[in-house]
Structure formats: C-alpha cells, structure tokens
Symmetry: C2
Subunit: 473 residues, 2 copies
C-alpha cells in the first residue's frame, strides 16, 4: 500500500498516444506499435484463413487444409509476411515488419523489440486458439459414447504408438544404418497424432459424433498423453543414456488421475455451477464462468506437466453433460472463429517447405529417408483401424487415416531431438517432411474415406441440421 505514485503503470496507457510513447519509455518495445503490429498480423491471418478455407471448400477439400496452406503461403516458406523470431529470423526477414516500418515511425532498431513482443503475442493467441478448439471439441463430444468406445480407443492409441515406433526405428537402423539414438527419435516422432487437425476435419464433415469419430478423438487424446510419456523416455535416454522410470510412472499416474479426476470432480461441481450461472444477470455470464472453469483445468494440466489442451478438452466434456450445452456451444462459436484460425495459419507459417526442394543436393538423402518414414507413418497408423474389436461394420480405414496427421505434435519431437544435437541434418529434414506430408495429406484422405467428398455441408446446411438435431432431443 505504500507504493509511490511514480510506480503507477502507464503501459496500457502509452498505447493511446503513439506520438508520445517514446517519451514515456524508450527502453522497451513501443506498445503502440506492438498493438499496430498485432492488429495487422491478425488482419493478415484472418484474410489468409478465409481465402484458403474458401478455395479448399470449392475444391471439395477441408477448409482447415486451406488455412494450413494459406499459412505456408504467407509464412517462412514463401511470402514471409508472417515469420517468427526463432532460428535466425529477425525483424528484417518479416515483410509485415517492413511494412510496419514503412508506414509508421518505427525505427529499424526499435523494430527488433516490437517484432519479438508481437510474435510472442501472436504465438500465445494461437495457443489460446488450440485451447479453445479442444474445449469446443470436448463440448461437442459425447462423454458416454467416449466411455463406451474407451477400450477400443485405448487399443487404437497403443497400436498407433507401438507400430510406427517399432517399424520406424528398426527400419532406420537396419535398412539405412542410421545410428540408434536418431533412429529412436525419428521413431518417436512417428508416434504422434495431431488431435487438432483431425478433430477439426471431423467437425467440418459432421462426423465428430459417429462411432468412428469418437474412437479417433478418444485415441488421439490418449495418444497425446502417450506422446508426452514417449518423449520423456526418449529425452532421458538421450540425456543420461538410461530411462528414468520414476518420471515415466509419474506421468502415467498424473495423466490418469487428472483426466478421471477432472471429469468426476466436474460432474460433482456442475449442479452448483449451473445454479450459480442461473443467478447471474450480467452479460456473458455463462461463457465467462465456463471459461474460468476451462482455464483452471487447462492451467492445472499444464503445470502438472501434461498439456493445457487436455484440461480444456476435459472441461468441454464435463460441460457437455449439462443443460447449458447448446447455449454455450452457440456462444463459443464466434470465440473459436476468431482464435482457432490463428493456430492453423501459424502452424502453416512456421512450416519450412524448403527441405522438400530436390534440386538442393543436401536435401536428397533426407528425401529418401522421408519416403521411408512416410510409408511407415501411414502404414503404422492405418493398421490401428484393424485393432478395433466388437464393432461390426465400422469404417476401419477411416479410423486409421484419422490417426495419420502428426501436425504440431510431431514437430515437438523434432524440436527436442534437434536441440539435443542427436539428429543429423538429413534425418531432421526427413522427419520434417514426414510431418508436413502426413499433416497435409490426412484431411483430404479423411473426407474421401468417410465418403463425404461429394456432400460437403455448407454453413447454412450445418446450422439447419444442428437446429433439427436439437429439436429431436
């Protein structure tokens, strides 16, 4: 209580007067220009996501693929409008920052700090985007159906981790004579499944609540947990040469306790939650109360070394069980609309396609490895469909293909492997190509195997269907 007036903060306040911002704080990034940069980035991201989405829809491809490809087009691989300050990229490499410099009072020196802060903000918004996406997926999922298909989903997840890991590691060691450690890393990268991409496509083609859809979602969620464990094992193997059993056990127990605990606790608390929301009268009461719940679970998952998206998914699942489901699902749509595209466009923008260029001689060894990894990546996941038992008439191919995209999760393995110094350039390039191709191939394949390529519902049709579905209940 004894802070002097001079400690009052003017950071948010400086932004109101660009012209004088420099006078109040010359040392740090100019907040007014950071805001300008963020606004411009968001305008570019939204434009790209809609342009890509609309084009793909007209080509009978999933809109999310258009967002990814749009991201690639404006990202580090092509236009360099949206680049991030990792690796060797700096403000000078970003066309968007150059535009900001050309149109504002920003100096080349100042632009480095504006670039850094703006990139942090956009990255964080994209992470919030995937949190909201998984919350929405949870809200659209059916907990009872998920529990019913639980055993099948668990088997799909385990088969989808063991098969590509074993095939990939053994193949690299015996066929290509790659050393063991990088082979293990490449094998580990093959185990990932990007729940975000598959779930988004399933939602787009209205198959999220099919039995196949729920098995895929359940397996992808478990795969996320398994992926964390595999990565912990591999990383400790690289660092110490042995596996820290205690850490592996900790992760398995905490993941189990968290998911079951969140759902049980949630169900217990939900009646109080609904009663509380019903007594509230200010604007946005249901949405904000639900997000408080979702963010607390996400926070908890994140700090116990799981992932924020697991918490968001659990929160969505719990709230889906309540009478507020429809109202909340409707309110979350615009929120997801403004945040989720940031995630997909950023994933695309951060993807470096230059490793696919066969005219660069140093890429060739990687390309050969990549072909092998691709084959393993597809076979290793497609077989999972045949591990499903007790579901006659199920579309096994669809389940297998739903597990194919590695997306950002595959890149995590690469990131850790790359930082450990264990990977050679060709192996690294091969993993990147495998991640890129599985990510971009799975969405159109998924549509084809679900037989929906010819009958893409438009927004209006989907809305009509949703309303009809509601009435039937």
């Amino acid at each position: 209580m004894n802070l002097l007036p001079s400690t009052l903060s003017f950071s948010s306040v400086r932004t109101h007067l660009p012209i004088l911002a420099a006078a109040t704080d010359a040392g740090t990034a100019d907040d007014a220009l950071v805001l300008a940069g963020v606004l411009l980035s968001l305008a570019v991201i939204y434009f790209t996501s809609k342009l890509g989405g609309e084009i793909c829809l007209r080509l009978n491809l999933p809109p999310v693929l258009g967002e990814l490809i749009g991201g690639v087009a404006i990202g580090v691989s092509a236009l360099k409008l949206l680049v991030f300050p990792e690796g060797s990229a700096d403000a000078g490499d970003s066309l968007l920052m150059q535009f900001l410099q050309a149109t504002s009072a920003l100096t080349p020196e100042g632009s480095q700090s504006v670039f850094a802060v703006q990139s942090e903000v956009i990255s964080l918004l994209s992470e919030l985007g995937v949190v909201i996406l998984l919350f929405e997926i949870g809200l659209e999922s059916d907990l009872k159906e998920l529990i019913r298909v639980g055993p099948q989903a668990a088997l799909v997840a385990v088969v989808g981790v063991v098969t590509p890991f074993a095939l990939g590691t053994a193949g690299l060691v015996y066929l290509f004579h790659v050393p063991v450690i990088p082979s293990v890393f490449a094998g580990a990268a093959l185990t990932a499944t990007s729940i975000g991409i598959t779930a988004k496509v399933l939602s787009e083609i209205d198959r999220l609540n099919s039995t196949e859809g729920q098995i895929i979602i359940g397996a992808a969620v478990l795969d996320d947990v398994l992926g964390i464990i595999v990565l912990a094992v591999v990383a400790s193997l690289v660092k110490t040469g042995e596996i820290e059993i205690s850490n592996v056990i900790y992760l398995i127990i905490s993941a189990g306790v968290f998911l079951i605990g969140a759902i049980l606790l949630g169900r217990f608390l939900i009646p109080f939650f609904i009663r509380l929301v019903d007594t509230m009268k200010t604007r946005g009461q249901l949405l904000l109360a639900s997000l408080v719940f979702a963010y607390i679970l996400s926070y908890t998952a994140q700090v116990i070394q799981l992932e924020a998206i697991l918490g968001a998914f659990a929160a969505g699942l719990v709230l889906a069980e309540t009478e507020k489901r429809e109202e909340l699902a409707e309110q979350i749509i615009p929120v997801a609309d403004i945040l989720v595209p940031i995630f997909f466009v950023c994933v695309g923008a951060k993807t470096d396609l230059s490793v696919l260029n066969p005219t660069v001689p140093s890429n060739r060894e990687g390309l050969i490895l990549a072909v092998f990894l691709m084959v393993v990546a597809i076979i290793g996941k497609v077989v999972t469909g045949w591990s499903v038992f007790g579901q006659p008439g199920i579309n096994r191919l669809a389940i297998g293909i739903g597990m194919i995209p590695r997306g950002e999760v595959g890149l995590v393995f690469l990131g850790v492997g790359s930082a450990s110094g264990a990977l050679s350039k060709p192996t690294e390039a091969a993993i990147i190509m495998m991640v890129i191709l599985t990510t971009f191939l799975a969405p159109p394949l998924l549509r084809i195997v679900f037989g929906t390529a010819e009958t893409v519902p438009t927004v209006e049709e989907a809305a009509t269907e949703a309303v009809e579905a509601t009435r039937k209940q």
Copy 2:
C-alpha cells in the same frame, strides 16, 4: 527458401511439452509457463469481472464499475494478484506469479521473464478489448443520428476541453502558486474523456441510442482527437518551450481526413463487402471479414498517430449501415464478452489507490490540490450540457455527467507529464486522485441522472427488448 531445417520454429511447439521445454531453449521465457500464467490470469480476471459486476448490479450500480473496483481489489493497490512490471514491480510482487512458482517447475530466475511476457500478453489483450468495445459501440451507434447531432457534439467536446483546461490551469497558478508547466499538464489532464467507460454505462442502461447518448458518444470521440492534439501541444511546450504548429496542423488534418475518409470509403466499399461475404461458405465468414476491415482501419489510425480505437469505431459505424448489422452484432457479443472485461479489470488493477491515504503526510498537499481538481473536473464537464443548442427538452445534466470520467485517457497525460519530470509528487498525486474519482463517480451518477437507477434491465430483459426492437423494423 534456403533456410535450413534447423531454423524451423518450435516456439509454439515447445509449449506442448513443459517438461522438456527447458531443453529446447533455456535463454528465453518458457512458453509453456507463459501459457499457464496467461490462462491463470484470464481465469482470475474473468472471475473478478463477474463477481464485481454481479455485486454492483445488485447494488443498482453499473456492472462496469464492479469490474473496475474488482480490478483495484486484485491489483497493485490491494491483493497484488495481478500486477504489471512497470515502475518497481517485479515478479516477486505478483501473487499470481508466486502461485505459478509454487505450483509449477518455474524457478525464481525464470519467473522474471515469464512475468514480463505474460504481462505484455495480458496488456495487449486488454488493448484488443477496448478496440473490440469501440467496434461494438460503433456497430450499435446510428451514423445518421451521429451526423445529425454532430454540431452539438462538436460544441460539447470543445467546451469540455476549453473550460476545464482554462479553469484548472489558472486556478493552480493563481490560487495554489503551482509553476506554469505542471499547471498546464494538470489542466490538460482535465480535458480528457474516457469514451470506453461512458459508452459501456450507456450501453448497460440502454441509452446509447438516445439523443443524449449519441451526443455524448460523438463528443467523446471528438474529445479523443482533441486530447491527442492537446497532449501534442503540451508535450512540445515542455520539451522545446514552444509549440510545434506544423505537428498540431498535421494531427488536426489527419484526424479529420481519417474519420471522414474511413466512413466515405467504407460506404463505397460496403456493397462489394456484403456480396463477398454472401459468397463465402466457411464458418465465421461475416465475423472474420468484418474484423479484417476493423483491424485494418485500427492499424491505419494507430500508425498515423491517432488511436486504434478511432479506427475500430469508424469500422463499426460503417458496418452498422448494412443489412448484416444484426447478425454481426450478435456474433460480436461473445467476442466482446471475453475481451472487454480484460480491459476494465486491468485499468482497475493498474490504479494505485495508496495516494488517497490521508494518514501519509506526503499525501496531504496532493489531497488539497485533488479536491480543487475534482471540483474543476466536474464543473468543467457538467457545463458542456448547457452548450447544446436546438434540442429542447434534452437532459443537459446527463450529457455533462457523461463527459466526466477521465479513465485511462487522463492517465496518459499523467504518464507523459510524469516522464517529462515536470510534475511534483503532490501534483502528480492530485491528478491521479482526480482521474480515479471521476472514473469511479461517473457511472453511478450517469444512472441517476438518466433516471434508470430503479429499472436496471437484466440480461434477459435486454435480450427480449432487442428481439422486439428487431421485429419492429
């Protein structure tokens, strides 16, 4: 195109694996923990905004006042849950960061960078919040009505700048023998009007589209422009001892050209915009296309040294003229619900109430000055109501009171004055108190003078009214 694979970015990607994040990048803030910190901050902010809002609503006070007071309660003045790294505050001063340290693997050293990045992100979200708020206000405003009341609004704005500036500066110099430069700064701080707070209250009591409401909004928008000009004049006076006429002329012309140009250009482009949106079929097409438009205008306003919120307001005004108004207004509600409270809670959290403590002797001189400034602040704005001409039966007191809150705009003046070193501690404290009191006093006063204190519409009533209003059209 020749970036090597090792330059691939893993920043977003690191966040997926908190346990291994440190391995990939030890130098910068741990993104996984930044995400955890942001999620926790947002949960706290939402909880606070709803608790404060609900309590105020039950006391027949405007909910936005509850959000401000809630912000004060969790901010630097009281609980220190949400503090910002300006002045002398660091991660150790933030209870939220201490909680994050206690619950995660965060080290005290790492917490400084996490604190810095997380605070930047929350500050930027709060700025996006006020951009969205002004977009929504623009969307709810009636351009024809605004133009109709334009002359009155302009007069109100000018009177509301000249009167408090003249009274305040002269009073400080002649009655209190304060030197000229700090007196001019204090006078300048008296000219501000916080459009955010007034507009939010008007919207809450459903008076935004009354003649009074539109005069207040028009005057507050113009006051924002005048404020920028006054501040530019005062700052150049302090720096060089003379007024840079060229800069003043530039600001006046650019503001005029921007506002009129944006509206004219917008009207010209709108038919194409609507046709484009109608051909789009992917989710969120109207919302994202509108936000691209709003963000581009905001960006433009920001880089030509006006304010982003002016661009957002102009974009809202233009889109309000279209047939998509209702649909867009409905979709923007959840977006505003999740962003706008961040702004109000942050304004509260950054307000340091310790200067109001009369038991601290050094506060007393400031308190006396503050009483004088408060009187001038209220009189100087209340008189503006009587400058309205040709509107018989108008509620003049309501207009005057609507112009009272200085809010964040008043703090900008303080920030610039403080940085220039021209202000003594008592003068600084007095300005802070004036800003705090006008900001917190205006919302309840506004309700009283509009005679709505007894008939606060609940969310449901407001929604019903809105639906009825739509049907009547």
